[in-house]
C-alpha cells in the first residue's frame, strides 16, 4: 500500500522516533490472575495482552487426546474493543491461524511427553492491539507457561523485523505495519536459536531477508532478557521464605 506518510526521516529516525534497531517499550508482569495456573500481563508498545495457562488436564473432547503426549491448545482472541473498528467477538480465520502457529511453536519446547492424554490450554487475550500482536501474544504465553511450572526446554520468545522505505527495521509500529514494505515475525528458542515460528509478508530481497532475520533474532534475545527478569522478579521476594 502506498501513502504520503513519511515513515523514515533523513536521519534514519522512524515515525515514532525510534532508531531502526530499537524495540518499542516492553513491560511484563508475571502471575497476574488468581484462577489460572500461570499467567502473564504484557505491554509491548500500544499492545496490551494477557495470557493464562490451565492444565495439564484431561483433554476434551476425548478424540483430541494423544496417548503418547500432551496437546498444546493455544487460543488467540481479540477483544471486541481492541481495534479501531469494533471486531465481532469470537474466532475468525485470522485468529484461528494465529492460534495454530502459536500452539505449534510452543509444542516444540514443552516436554509434552510427560503428560500423555492431557491438554495444556494457553489463552491469549489481546485487550489493546497495535501491530505485532502475535509476537506479543506468544511472548506472553511463554511466560505464563513458565509461571504455571510447565516443564520446558526453553522459554520461547517472539519478535518481528520488517522493511520500511527500503530499510530493514526492528519491531514494526502501527503506521509501519500498515504502510511498510514487509513484515517478518519470528519466534525462537533463545538458548539454541532454533526458529519456532516464521511468517513473512511483503517484499524482501535475499539480502534484506538475511538482515531482517538477524535483526529479529537480536530483538528476540533482548525480549528474552525482559521475560526472564520478569519471572525472576516474581520469586525475588519469596527467597527467604
Amino acid at each position: 500500500m502506498k501513502s504520503d506518510v513519511k515513515l523514515l526521516d533523513s536521519h534514519g529516525k522512524r515515525i515514532d522516533g525510534r532508531k531502526t534497531d530499537e524495540l518499542r517499550d516492553i513491560k511484563i508482569e508475571v502471575g497476574v490472575l488468581h484462577r489460572a495456573e500461570g499467567s502473564c500481563y504484557l505491554e509491548w508498545g500500544g499492545n496490551k495482552v494477557i495470557a493464562a495457562v490451565y492444565g495439564p488436564r484431561e483433554a476434551v473432547p476425548r478424540h483430541t487426546q494423544n496417548p503418547l503426549k500432551a496437546i498444546i491448545n493455544a487460543r488467540y482472541n481479540m477483544a471486541a474493543f481492541s481495534v479501531e473498528d469494533r471486531k465481532k467477538p469470537g474466532p475468525d480465520r485470522r485468529s484461528r491461524e494465529i492460534s495454530k502457529v502459536i500452539s505449534e511453536a510452543l509444542e516444540k519446547v514443552v516436554l509434552t511427553e510427560r503428560f500423555p492424554r492431557a491438554s495444556i490450554d494457553v489463552n491469549v487475550e489481546i485487550l489493546d492491539a497495535e501491530a505485532g500482536t502475535r509476537c506479543a501474544g506468544l511472548t506472553a504465553a511463554a511466560v505464563a507457561l513458565a509461571d504455571a511450572g510447565i516443564p520446558m526446554r526453553d522459554i520461547p520468545v517472539a519478535c518481528a523485523a520488517g522493511k520500511v522505505e527500503g530499510k530493514v527495521v526492528l519491531d514494526l509500529g502501527k503506521e509501519e505495519d500498515n504502510f511498510g514494505d514487509a513484515d517478518l515475525p519470528i519466534a525462537i528458542s533463545p538458548r539454541t536459536n532454533e526458529i519456532l515460528l516464521l511468517q513473512m509478508d511483503g517484499h524482501l530481497t535475499l539480502d534484506e531477508f538475511d538482515q531482517a532475520l538477524e535483526l529479529a533474532m537480536k530483538g528476540c534475545h533482548i525480549v528474552s532478557d525482559i521475560q526472564k527478569k520478569a519471572i525472576m522478579k516474581k520469586y525475588e521476594n519469596t527467597k527467604e521464605a
Binding site: L33, H34, R35, A36, G46, K48, I50, A51, A52, Y54, R57, R75, N77, A79, A80, F81, S82, V83, E84, D85, R86, P89, G90, P91, D121, N123, E125, L127, D128, A129, E130
Partner: protein, 260 residues
C-alpha cells in the same frame, strides 16, 4: 460448574452459623474494590474493575447504523459478555452460553431501563442514521460476583467514553451524554444466611441470588432474582437496605475514579 466438595460446603455453612465467612468478612461487607479507567487506547471508553480476585474489563466502541423501527430518533445500545476461558478453568471457548447471556442482559437492563445513556442525543438523521454504542464485557479472572463487577465496569467505561464524532464523520468529538446511573449490589443466600458480594465458593453453594440497583437518592431502579431458591420478605428488605448502604460506597468509588 465445578463440584464443590461437600466438605467445603459444610465448612462454609458451619462458619456462617457462627456469623463468619471464610475470608473474615461481615455478611454485608464487600471485598476490596479497585477501579481504573481509560486502560484501552483503541476503545472509546474503558474500565477495569477488581472486586477481590474477580477482574472484569469493559470497553466501549461506537459506530453509526440504522435505528430500531420503533425508536427512529434514538441511538442504539448493545451489550455483550464473553466468559473467555482465560478467566476460569470452567469457561469454554465458543459462542456465549446461558451464563454469559444472562450477565450481559442484566448489565444491559440496568443501563437501558434507567436511561443512563441519553440515546435521543445520539441521533444523526431521524429514521436513517444513529450512533450505536457497543458495551463489551470481558471477564478476565472469575472469583465470584460477576454481576456487580461487570455493571460497575460498564458504568465507569461509559462515564469516561468519548463519542468519536470525527472518525464517524459527524463533527467534533464530544463526551457521551449520560444521566446519573444506578449502582448494582448482589447478595446470595445459602442455608438461610444471606451474604453480599459472594466469593466463588459461596456462589457455588448459593440457593438464591438477588441483584438490587439503587440510584443516588437511594430509590430502587432494578432488581433481579436468580437461581432456584427463595427469599422471605424480611430477607428481601434486609438485602435492599444493605444494597443501598453498599451502593453509596460503590458510587463514591465510581465518581472518584471518573472525576465527577
Amino acid at each position: 460448574m465445578t463440584l464443590t466438595p461437600s466438605i467445603k460446603r459444610d465448612y462454609l455453612i458451619k462458619l456462617a452459623e457462627k456469623g463468619k465467612r471464610a475470608d473474615g468478612r461481615e455478611f454485608n461487607e464487600y471485598r476490596n474494590i479497585e477501579l481504573e479507567t481509560n486502560i484501552i487506547s483503541k476503545a472509546e471508553g474503558s474500565a477495569r474493575v477488581k472486586i477481590g480476585n474477580t477482574q472484569v474489563v469493559v470497553g466501549i466502541k461506537m459506530d453509526v447504523g440504522e435505528p430500531y423501527p420503533d425508536a427512529l430518533e434514538s441511538g442504539v445500545m448493545s451489550t455483550a459478555a464473553e466468559l473467555i476461558p482465560l478467566a476460569s478453568p470452567d469457561f469454554e471457548a465458543g459462542p456465549p452460553r446461558e451464563d454469559a447471556i444472562e450477565l450481559a442482559r442484566v448489565v444491559d437492563r440496568g443501563i437501558r431501563e434507567s436511561q443512563v445513556i441519553e440515546l435521543e442525543k445520539l441521533c444523526v438523521e431521524p429514521g436513517e442514521k444513529v450512533c450505536i454504542v457497543f458495551i463489551d464485557i470481558h471477564v478476565i479472572d472469575y472469583d465470584g460476583n460477576l454481576f456487580d463487577a461487570a455493571s460497575l465496569a460498564a458504568l465507569a467505561a461509559l462515564m469516561t467514553a468519548t463519542v468519536p464524532a470525527k472518525r464517524l464523520e459527524l463533527g467534533e468529538d464530544f463526551p457521551l451524554p449520560l444521566k446519573s446511573p444506578p449502582v448494582s449490589c448482589t447478595s446470595v443466600k445459602f442455608n438461610n444466611v444471606v451474604v453480599m458480594d459472594a466469593s466463588l465458593d459461596e456462589e457455588e453453594i448459593a440457593e438464591a441470588r438477588l441483584t438490587v440497583a439503587t440510584d443516588e437518592n437511594g430509590d430502587l431502579r432494578a432488581m433481579q432474582k436468580g437461581l432456584n431458591g427463595s427469599f422471605d420478605v424480611q430477607e428481601i428488605k434486609k438485602v435492599i437496605k444493605s444494597s443501598i448502604d453498599n451502593g453509596k460506597k460503590i458510587r463514591e468509588i465510581l465518581y472518584k475514579n471518573v472525576g465527577k
